[in-house]
């Protein structure tokens, strides 16, 4: 029915419940494991129990004898499948050939060795136990600094020094400022290996249609389009005969920003067997064989003048690569370097990265990807400097901030910060926390012998990744906006939301722009047969780039709508707003629904105008965006046990303009949970032989709801000039701002004991030992 009312309600900025939630919380969403196909086989993968071993032989006869087993494939069968790709390039990067199944050697516990295909999952799993592998275990090395020692076992025999790459970046007069500095502080700071733990593990369904010679891969991924391009190459099939579908994806946090062996492997299996095949990763496999995050050992030095002005930063960064490069492995620490000055005006920097192979699962992007490491480093160092200079950490920060009038600001690392007002969220956060009163309370607590700490972080991050020249595979995003004959709106976004809520925020933008009802808009994504090429959802880019692409597609449609409106109203000058085209002269109007119907009916067309209302836009962003914020954390340490209680958590985040405060708060809460996880609980622990000691939730501690503090979250809004929406991105902010604030708080609590730094995770035994023994 054609609407006759002008729509005036603005949805941009409004708290709206997420469109995607009802299906998610009622169990009616379709994930990969919900896909059923007639005759579908099930695959289970045999994985290496050793971190390093030679495979002297594989005997799969026992497996093949089991009724219901259709096939077993081993390394020899997939020799010619292309390697698992590394998309990042650095000068001198050593890239080991990454076969989809191990050939004569395995490099980490969990390395895929063979795949069993059977009529059901239980048979396939039983059959895996019947494969006999003649193993020759080899010496392994699981720690990056040990791997760099002379005589360490070589992960890849062809590179005995275990170096995957070296990277150097420098700007300004580093040696001079360090020589002339009044104060230099140094600290080794680690950012431990973490397991991303998406709620949905990975999973793949592959279907080969032999008549059409086409393959469909359903996979739990953040990047269906890139996965399709790359897996088509690995399998040697034309890209247009491979359809990739990311159905509902239950979280990724970067771990699904990848192309995995199993994706190509299931395609291979489907083509070989002629039957659809499903592989669902178990939780244990997820922890062993899906990429991990972080894995830094950082050696920082910062130089300052007497008054606290930071003049130079040096960083030696050791990145635990793991056994292979996954899609972006070597690029992640370079992001840390790009952001190493944080929000401070420091033009003299030197960074050296060494990437190190270890017999562990590869590291890659994990919520924040490079920026949490960088912010943890600089924000710790600023606190260490403040302690050294006996300055208040808030004062020292205020003194060194890049000032609002300095934007756009060219950093020493070659970036141009778009906009910012760093003092604003800090002052707001300090105000909410009641900083002065807290310091009073702390003095009283200390004289009563209690260990109370106040910590803060003022972070900056790089989002909306990113301009194409700065990315390995294009950094634009695409959108198609289709106004159907009835006036309902279908948006196809090239990004691939998997929990972020873009079906909601995009609909809010489209509703405002087109003057249609929120409920009349649907946002589709993730299916390469439906959606034009796109890049994906990661790096807090979905809304800032994908949303902007949609915005521009809508602008094209609006121009066309006005041409139809002018024709229908027989009027030269029309205005389109609130879902109606109004003739400026007569005041007569037609609705967008009437225009949509007329555009498809096409009885009459405006000059030089095609029928229909569909527009596609590929938007190339001119720059990244740079959100920022301040977190203030109050903690108290139990002297007897070392337990840390987070008593207050104040987060003030500036992600540019806010489309939906509920979605922003949700992202911050989740991000903070993961930041707290890193600060307090989580660590992927490998023993010396490369066995993962934290391969289950019984041992790997992600914070549970009952362990979360109350988060006092709010925002400041500093628009970005990079896109017309003014939005920057918020997917990773909570995580990035969190860990340094928490560690700073606990170090502050223990500072009367002479403690100056604590590595994460700050588990209770570590803290108890510090309380017992003093300085770290």
């Amino acid at each position: 029915m054609a609407s006759t009312v002008t729509k005036t309600e603005v949805l941009f900025g409004k708290k709206m419940k997420r469109k995607e939630d009802p299906r998610l919380i009622t169990g009616t969403a379709t994930y990969v494991d919900d896909i059923q196909m007639p005759g579908m086989h099930h695959a289970v993968i045999l994985r290496s129990p050793y971190a390093a071993a030679r495979i002297k032989g594989i005997d799969a006869r026992g497996a093949l004898e089991l009724p219901g087993v259709a096939a077993v494939f081993t390394g020899a069968d997939v020799k010619d499948v292309g390697p698992v790709p590394c998309g990042a390039s650095l000068p001198g990067l050593r890239v080991p050939h990454h076969h989809v199944l191990a050939q004569d050697r395995t490099y980490f516990v969990g390395h895929p060795v063979a795949v069993v295909v059977a009529t059901d999952r239980y048979i396939a799993r039983d059959a895996v136990d019947r494969i006999e592998v003649d193993w020759e275990p080899l010496e392994a090395v699981a720690e990056p600094e040990k791997a760099l020692e002379a005589g360490a076992p070589a992960v890849h025999p062809q590179w005995p020094d275990n170096k995957a790459f070296d990277y150097h970046q420098e700007h300004g007069e580093v040696d001079k400022v360090f020589a002339e500095a009044d104060v230099v502080v140094k600290q080794r700071i680690t950012s431990q290996r973490l397991i991303p733990c998406a709620m949905e593990t990975r999973g793949v369904v592959a279907e080969w249609k032999s008549g059409e010679k086409s393959l469909t891969i359903y996979t739990s991924t953040q990047i269906p389009h890139l996965m399709r391009s790359l897996v088509a190459g690995m399998l040697g099939i034309p890209e247009n005969r491979l359809r990739a579908v990311a159905p509902e994806v239950g979280g990724g946090f970067g771990s699904k920003l990848n192309v995995y062996a199993e994706e190509a492997l299931m395609g291979f299996v489907a083509m070989k067997t002629g039957k659809p095949v499903k592989w669902i990763e178990s939780r244990r496999e997820n922890m062993l064989a899906t990429t991990h995050g972080r894995g830094h050992v950082d050696y920082y030095e910062i130089a300052a003048k007497k008054d606290g002005t930071i003049v130079g930063i040096k960083l030696k960064l050791i990145q635990d690569v793991g056994s292979y490069h996954q899609l972006l492995t070597p690029a992640i620490p370079t992001l840390s370097v790009l952001m190493m000055p944080g929000v401070y005006r420091c033009q003299n920097i030197r960074a050296d990265i060494v990437g190190v192979f270890t017999n562990c699962v590869p590291t890659d992007a994990y919520r924040g990807a490079g920026r949490p490491e960088a912010m943890h480093g600089i924000e710790r160092m600023v606190d260490i400097l403040a302690a050294e200079m006996k300055m208040d950490p808030a004062e020292l920060r205020l003194k060194n901030f890049i000032q609002p009038e300095e934007f756009p600001y060219a950093t020493a690392t070659g970036l141009t910060y778009d906009s910012g007002d760093y003092a604003k969220p800090l002052k707001k956060a300090l105000g909410i926390a009641g900083y002065a009163a807290l310091r009073e309370e702390q003095r009283a607590a200390r004289s009563a012998g209690r260990l109370m700490g106040i910590g803060l972080s003022t972070y900056g991050e790089i989002c909306a990744i990113g301009p194409s020249p700065a990315t390995p595979a294009g950094g634009w995003e695409s959108a198609t906006v289709r106004i159907e004959p009835s006036g309902k709106v279908t948006v196809h976004t090239g990004c691939s939301p998997h929990g972020q809520g873009e079906e909601t925020t995009f609909a809010q933008i489209a509703a405002d722009e087109l003057g249609v009802d929120f409920d009349d808009i649907i946002v589709l994504h993730g299916d390469t047969a439906i959606v034009q090429y796109g890049i994906g959802t990661f790096g807090s880019r979905g809304t800032a780039i994908g949303g902007t692409a949609m915005y521009f597609a809508i602008q094209e449609l609006k121009a066309k709508i006005k041409r139809f409106g002018a024709m229908m109203l027989d009027c030269d000058d029309v205005t389109f707003s609130g879902g109606r085209c109004v003739c400026d002269k007569t005041g007569k109007s037609v609705s967008i629904q009437e225009i949509a119907a007329a555009s498809y009916r096409a009885m009459k067309l405006p000059p030089k105008t095609e029928p229909g209302l569909v527009a596609t836009y590929f938007w190339e962003p001119p720059n990244f965006t740079f959100p920022f914020g301040a977190h203030v954390v109050v903690t108290e340490v139990d002297k007897e046990t070392g337990d840390i209680e987070v008593k207050r958590y104040v987060a003030v985040d500036d992600c540019g303009k806010i489309i939906n405060p509920l979605v922003v708060a949700g992202q911050i809460h989740g991000g903070v949970a993961q930041g707290l996880g890193q600060a307090l609980y989580e660590e992927a622990v490998y023993d010396d032989s490369g066995q993962l000691m934290t391969g289950e939730f019984m041992d790997y501690c992600v914070p549970k709801s009952t362990m979360m503090p109350w988060i006092e979250d709010s925002n400041t809004e500093t628009a970005t000039p990079v896109n017309p929406l003014g939005v920057k991105g918020v997917g990773e902010a909570g995580t990035i701002g969190c860990s340094p604030a928490v560690v700073n708080s606990v170090v502050d609590a223990l500072s009367p004991l002479g403690v100056r730094h604590i590595d994460m995770p700050m588990n209770r035994e570590k803290i108890w030992k510090l309380v017992q023994g003093g300085a770290a």
Partner: protein
């Protein structure tokens, strides 16, 4: 995470269940420990004998000053049944501290103690309560004390084919103060250490002290040395600290990625003192 093929039986009498529990068979109660082990293929029973239809294993009753609890009574029932909360607040508290609601809705007292995880919560309480465990086998029934029942890590006094049928604890006398203090291993929620304390006072002196400890060593135990140090004192802060200091003596503390042996022993002392202090606070 997929179990090996197995037969599944649901006997409707205890005799039938005992008959079916021949070699290679495992009893299934709430499945909260057995099923994860089967999924990890650390347990590969050929037959699983589900006890849920066996009559008489679900009862909670008081007789002759004892609270008798059937093996199939769930953690949630123990935590929430008024009779249990009244008769044995310590046992109810131990039950309430287990896992999460879903686990407590399914997991059972019998299953937990038969499994004998060294970090499980009940054993601490049962040691402090000097519980009696009734066991049925093909040859008949027998009863053992908690001290005899918990032998070592995942090892109990149960012979192959035997079942726990009932656990009996004393109905707590008026004036007895009790407390279960648990330091959670944060990933699993099990006890890094857990200490159950029961105390009574007479004439300003501690007349009775019972302390059960879980998580510290290979098996739960009753810390008799702590009890002896406390009994006869006034139960002052120093008395408690001095007594609690003995809790790990002579025990080989567990050590893993979650806590070193030294730290576990330290936590045991801290939590023993906390449990005793709280129990003394409510003892009348």
């Amino acid at each position: 995470m997929i179990a090996q093929n197995f037969e599944y039986e649901t006997p409707s009498t205890l005799e039938e269940a005992l008959e079916l529990l021949a070699d290679g068979a495992k009893a299934l109660a709430g499945g909260m420990s057995l099923i994860p082990l089967m999924k990890l293929r650390l347990a590969v029973p050929e037959r699983v004998v589900d006890l849920r239809r066996v009559p008489g294993l679900n009862s909670i009753r008081v007789a002759e000053g004892q609270l008798h609890i059937g093996a199939m009574v769930t953690h949630y029932e123990l935590e929430s049944t008024p009779l249990v909360r009244r008769s044995s607040p310590l046992l109810a508290a131990a039950a309430a501290s287990i896992g999460d609601v879903q686990v407590r809705n399914l997991g059972t007292l019998g299953g937990s103690i038969a499994h004998a995880d060294p970090a499980a919560d009940y054993p601490a309480a049962l040691q402090a309560l000097e519980a009696v465990i009734r066991i049925a086998g093909k040859g008949g029934e027998r009863a053992v004390s908690a001290a005899e029942f918990f032998v070592d890590t995942f090892t109990t006094a149960l012979e192959p084919g035997e079942l726990v049928v009932e656990v009996s604890v004393p109905v707590e006398a008026a004036g007895t103060g009790v407390r279960y203090e648990k330091c959670e291993q944060l990933a699993s929620g099990f006890a890094l250490v857990g200490v159950a304390a029961r105390v009574a006072k007479k004439g300003g002196k501690v007349s009775m002290a019972r302390v059960g400890v879980t998580g510290l060593a290979g098996s739960s135990y009753r810390a008799k040395n702590v009890e002896a140090l406390l009994e006869g004192t006034t139960g002052s802060a120093q008395d408690v600290t001095r007594a609690a200091a003995a809790v790990a003596e002579g025990k080989e503390a567990n050590s893993d990625i979650h806590a070193s042996a030294d730290y576990r022993a330290h936590l045991a002392r801290v939590y023993t003192a906390r449990a005793l202090r709280a129990a003394l606070g409510t003892a009348g």
